[in-house]
Symmetry: D3
């Protein structure tokens, strides 16, 4: 069970690459996202490779799972550097990154942008704005990550599911016109035309009852059906990267959170392959 269900052992000629990024160094409430990649991989064996929603199976496509990157625990700067380096060095691949906390999105997008500085839409599913300028005096944190990402320039933010933040963050995100509803998929497809698209799924976007094992549970979230309705209509044509972050298996005795995340990953992978192949 060392790789995600359906993954190829051999990564030659494979363009889509899963990897685990077990970083949770700035988790302010409860740490444990470091265990998510392994937990999600293991949980993936409790679901099928076939999606009845898309009538296709992971087995029909080629992707690999290169395991987890080993990070210097306790050193945020160095960890972010290593994540950035890895993406840079493998720039021919399309990454599906399994976090880890949300901060990992920053070095990944940074590396991707240096390869291709087209206008980028960052589509974020998240209960939180993550737009603080700093958090307890720290510039790079799960609570500031989208602010740092925007500073990379030439990026539009599309946020879905946001329901927590400071007054300042909400003022900021409203000024950005970045607040979207899960029903706005057509509008978002319109927006991304001619641009590249990065998708970041913070699993706390879902109602905590459905995904209790996350770093910062926040009531009022979406459900699986909302998410699937959106996903099936979203165009993945221009996607240059995806991440799934903030699962914290330590706080879920029933393990439904990792299973839910594994299913989200399966659906994203299949949609990605279908759209890329068409």
């Amino acid at each position: 069970m060392s790789s995600f269900i359906g993954a190829n052992l051999d990564q030659k000629g494979v363009s889509v690459m899963l990897w685990g990024v077990p970083f949770d160094g700035t988790s302010s409430y409860r740490a444990g996202a470091r265990f998510a990649p392994s937990s999600i991989r293991e949980a993936s064996y409790s679901i099928e490779t076939y999606s009845p929603y898309q009538d296709a199976s992971l087995d029909e496509f080629k992707f690999c799972d290169v395991g987890n990157i080993e990070l210097p625990i306790g050193n945020t700067e160095k960890s972010l550097g290593m994540i950035y380096d890895f993406v840079k060095e493998n720039s021919s691949k399309l990454f599906l990154s399994i976090g880890g906390e949300h901060l990992i999105t920053y070095p990944i997008i940074k590396a991707l942008k240096e390869k291709n500085n087209n206008e980028l839409v960052v589509l974020v599913f998240d209960a939180h704005t993550d737009l603080r300028n700093d958090y307890l005096g720290v510039k790079f944190s799960h609570a500031t990550v989208m602010r740092r990402v925007l500073e990379l320039g030439n990026i539009s933010l599309v946020s879905i599911g946001v329901r927590a933040g400071t007054k300042e963050e909400f003022e900021y995100i409203k000024k950005l016109n970045a607040l979207y509803s899960i029903a706005d998929v057509e509008k978002i497809n319109e927006l991304t035309k001619g641009k590249t698209l990065y998708i970041s799924v913070d699993m706390d976007v879902f109602e905590p009852g459905y995904v209790p094992g996350v770093g910062n549970p926040e009531p009022g979230g979406i459900n699986f059906s909302d998410f699937m309705n959106f996903l099936l209509k979203l165009s993945f044509k221009n996607v240059i990267g995806v991440d799934i972050v903030e699962i914290n298996p330590v706080y879920d005795c029933s393990n439904i959170s990792s299973i839910f995340a594994a299913e989200v990953i399966r659906e994203i992978l299949i949609k990605l392959f279908i759209d890329l192949n068409n």
Copy 2:
């Protein structure tokens, strides 16, 4: 707390019989359904005997709870044989069976069919198709049970809530025209007219957030209100047996799964009595 809430101690003259079937020998992901019957009985004392949905109480009806069958652990064949024998020997009773894993449905229906080979509709609530031909080389498994049931002959399958399986299973179930929605209750009432009806509730049909303690959680399930709307309209006139399977209390620290199952059983019992008496 050795019997389900409201059960008669004396089983003389009682036509409806609860029993526990603590078999989980083929659970492929996580075992523990063996503990469900005891857990559900205990949980039943945390709910009322009265149903506000049906304005009736378990106390108004007569049913007994004969406890659990003791099975030879580690021997699937012998276990299935003993379940079959028990149902055969008590053929004057209408069984409500508390599993245990889904495989127990097979020997129960087998015994019932030998008593009465009318055309039988098997109405299954389940997240999974359970229609594999074999599973890891094993013919009798929770993952193949509905395939084996259908092989008994003269049976129509009605599946509600299915959202997981292999491509082959979905092709098979579509060919059978067995996929129904929770909204199709009138259609199903029509279908069962003049036939006998067996109802099997795999508790993983519900969203894992509501019922986390099951063998194979699968996101995208139904909720209690969906289920009740269906139940209240379904005709129980021709019901010859019911089972509630796949609760796994080991993986639910909050115990909401067993409580949920106890409530489902209460509602089914009351509906059964009301329809049989009218």
Copy 3:
């Protein structure tokens, strides 16, 4: 983390007062609500002080948190007396009480009524009627609390979310015309005009999947969005007290129940301040 997020340390000139009432002496199924006040306070630091639903923050208002009352464990009568005394002695404050079990509502309302015997509407969110006349021979119990409250006289009951009780309790509550739906907010605003209003939120009103850590989980509950839609429209003009009861953190490994309760408290506090100030 010894007080609720955003609370003032100094209670001079502060009219709204939080306190914890860690009483769970009559919990019939599983005790542990005694730990709720501390657990909810701690959980409050995982959410923001700002509400995007009301575009306002706890920081804009003045309230204090006076901690928990220390109660003589094992002596229900004395405990209820001490709760009553405390409310009496602080009668200039508007209390937001964090239980403990639902029985605490009785001594609080008793004390409030003696200060002001205007006609009182008691608006209860609860899965249970709590209207038994006695419970296992005991007059004062979480299962009888609303019956005792009504006996205080000059009180109208408004119950939302009820879905469990005995036949007698349902007959009684129907005679009272006290059953309301979460959609009836306008009707309730009408009803409370010219009267005082007390709000009691038994957290088991929510679906157990969303709030698993409660004393008596009961499937079929409301969700956060239902609750917020109601809350935002309810008039808090005449509110004389609020309580949040029945969280039991012992049975929630993911801690989503205490977080959910903390968010409910934040929203109620902000709505209260907004309505009182207008």
Copy 4:
């Protein structure tokens, strides 16, 4: 699994009677001892009826298990009265009582003394002195129980394993000369000669690592081997009652505490029968 392993269903002609006393109304730290009798009975099926320590089996002796007494939750006084009444009414039996918290020892000894007011030695295994005069103003509490017992008169206290209490309690117990070591079995046999003996085992006497599921864990306890060495040498000739209290299964995910208690009960029962028969 409704009775302790090896118990007779029929209680006619049986002189030793197990019963469960699920009272935890005065638990000051964490409640849950109410679940101990059921949990210990269930755990008893994971051990054998045969004791290799005494080369005898429960099957060789006759005892019954009459289940749990149903108590009015939230009313300590009434609960203690009902426990007292039950023992009084069954005064021909020798009770092995499974608590519940330690306070249950008081009404049991009170009833036994009224039947037979010989000089009584109360042998207590306990980490705590339980000799407070009152606890938070309450006279009847798990923390005062031995003080109340001594007030019944004509009683000598023998305490083993004590390692927690107030300064006053330790001064008091030293004045009583009641502190004994687990090695003092001969001295205790000497002491009980010609007197009757009641044995109360508060399971927190054991090191919390071995029995984590107790109300008030206290480091520095004894182990199973210490206990068995003592037990095998203790004379049970004059025993008039035994209780096993303070197991709290809610706080033991591994369930080793209930299993440990079941084994302690098995050994006590066998020793009791052997000594009574010789």
Copy 5:
């Protein structure tokens, strides 16, 4: 983390082979030993490769970890057959097998004996005799495994730590003169001279407080220091196989059981290499 810490990826020229045997089909009390091999491997990364007890490190020796055998869940006979086949087919290797339940010892020893039918001493660490003739009518069970092993012929049993069984089992094991103490290492070294030796460590031999996550916890066990004193003096010269069984990680929230097992495996591996090389 897909292999035990320090294991070689390449198995060419490696004579010692770890493998996982995730079979728990006959677990009568609580299943979950199927998860032990993965859990122990993962836990092995929390300990060092170096043993201060033996002043040597796993890194100095060559061994491989070939992962888990995939077994047909629900079919005991077929599973045992596959375990037997695997050992047969790899008969040039010295196996260290990570169970799984204790029954796996039978097919392993059966295969080893067919390769080399020298007189074999089977040294078993176990709280239970495992010598029933059948268990609930089943011949092959964790409770009968040593009886079946002895029937293979030309085998002497050496049991350490036994403290649970039926009267018949104890009579049987005494007749075999198979009961040894953890202090008897010299006697055992004497006994094994000129014979081959198989070592089976049922982790329930340890006190449940130290290793709570096992299938059948039994108080009164040994500790780590006892075990190490024995191990360091035992001669591994003639060892032909080792297994570590009955860890059940599902019932250990602290994970100390899998860590303990990983350390036992490290010490056994190092001792094995040292003795084989001398």
Copy 6:
């Protein structure tokens, strides 16, 4: 429950100061020590202020608990700087620090040494050597902390309970002659004469069965009685600081680890006061 049991609210004229240092930024295996200070304080209310071992009570002495330092999560360097600053600024106090992970010992000793550069003995209870030069490329880590401490100069290390480390670490610690047994208390008293003494208790020094909730459980540890025998004989005359680190309450459902730590702190405080006053 916001301060340790028995602590003075007022810190004027109080020379001994408790504080919490919720840092776990370099925890390599499982994080959560950040929650230890709050958990230990809360657990302290389940034990008495009186020690029967020393016949004295915390109430007889004056100490304060200033709560937790708030640290910039995710920034190890800045966190260590803030811990150092706090100790420097309060240099007239004798600190008892509740971690957090073991790395916090470094900035504390650094600050203390700058105030008083007498020869310092650092007495460490720890299962691990913590003497790596770097850990995954990181210089400041819980695994390197004692190496960094020694580099501060003029320090002798006394290590008790060490049983895990790399070969190099053991060679290093042996060269330092720093390995002591729990029986060596007289030798250590001799050694510290005329020097200052700092005591660091990594709670993983205890057997994991007794203290399961630690960052890196390691079998083979000491027990409470070993520790108390040592403590009661150790001279605290020259103590300049104490820390208790590495409790991780997230991994202990029974909470016995925090209770154990609270008791260790009580005994250390009382011994400290007794020795300082004599």
